[in-house]
Subunit: 161 residues, 2 copies
């Protein structure tokens, strides 16, 4: 299992060098929801340091039931009040239908494909703001990250106040 | 919205400096499933570079339906064959019951709390190996990351071969 051994070896250097951050509550009260895509290093893209933001990732950077579960804890246990949903260009679930993705994967699932980023982001932000137990969230924003240029576009924002 | 502006400003420097990676398929065929915890910089912890691994994150680093959806795409569209589930010490959902987390959050959800990391990791790896549409996964491993020391423990591994 050479890939597993390589991960463990890399960690030895990191563990020796890192600064510990004791508090589990992100000190910028932020949660970032983004895609699992291998070309996104969230800390680097957004200039985040350890201890500043929760990071949630799945296929597409969509607000799923699992994201709501995670944000319930993020808000009520960990003090989050700002959520950024960051989708990206050249995403594998953009421009494909559920039927096509079901055919490719053999999985009879809803894949939450994205036909239009602005519409998908608005839908996802609305889902956060419309979920009663996420009432502590005050500000939401939707970004699109360009995986070729490295730049983000600030597509949509909303707040409760 | 000062936190939103700060994220955008940080990105400007990153976009100018980064190296582009065109291929969406992770070149180490890896997917890492881990917790949203703000103290985990996955790239740094595991020595990953851009383009090497998909990263999936939720509360606890649990294998949920959303993770299975993401891994369906990760395997069949993006070529993943190795999955690492990395949970961590001092996790907010460890040692608490669903009833307690429901009381704190006001959300009537199953939170997938962790009573024992070895048992939770085995359950999560079994769920991956037992999902027919994830047949392309050949190797799975379960790590526990120590958020105080920065070290990982290599708790459990399995392969199909």
């Amino acid at each position: 299992m050479p890939e597993i051994r390589r991960l463990i070896a890399a960690n030895e250097g990191y563990a020796a060098a890192r600064a510990g951050v004791a508090d589990p509550r992100p000190n910028r009260r932020l949660a970032i929801v983004t895609c699992m895509d291998a070309r996104i290093d969230v800390f680097a893209v957004l200039g985040l340091n350890l201890g500043e933001a929760l990071v949630l990732r799945n296929a597409g950077g969509r607000v799923t039931d699992d994201v709501l579960r995670s944000l319930a804890l993020g808000t009520h246990v960990l003090g989050v009040d700002t959520v950024v949903v960051m989708q990206h260009t050249k995403c594998g679930i953009a421009g494909r239908s559920d039927a096509e993705l079901q055919e490719i994967t053999g999985a009879d699932l809803g894949f939450l494909p994205i036909m239009d980023h602005a519409a998908a982001l608005r839908e996802d932000l609305d889902r956060i703001l419309g979920t009663p137990f996420l009432d502590p969230v005050r500000v939401v924003a939707g970004f699109v990250y360009d995986v070729e240029s490295g730049e983000i576009s600030d597509v949509v924002r909303a707040d409760r106040d």
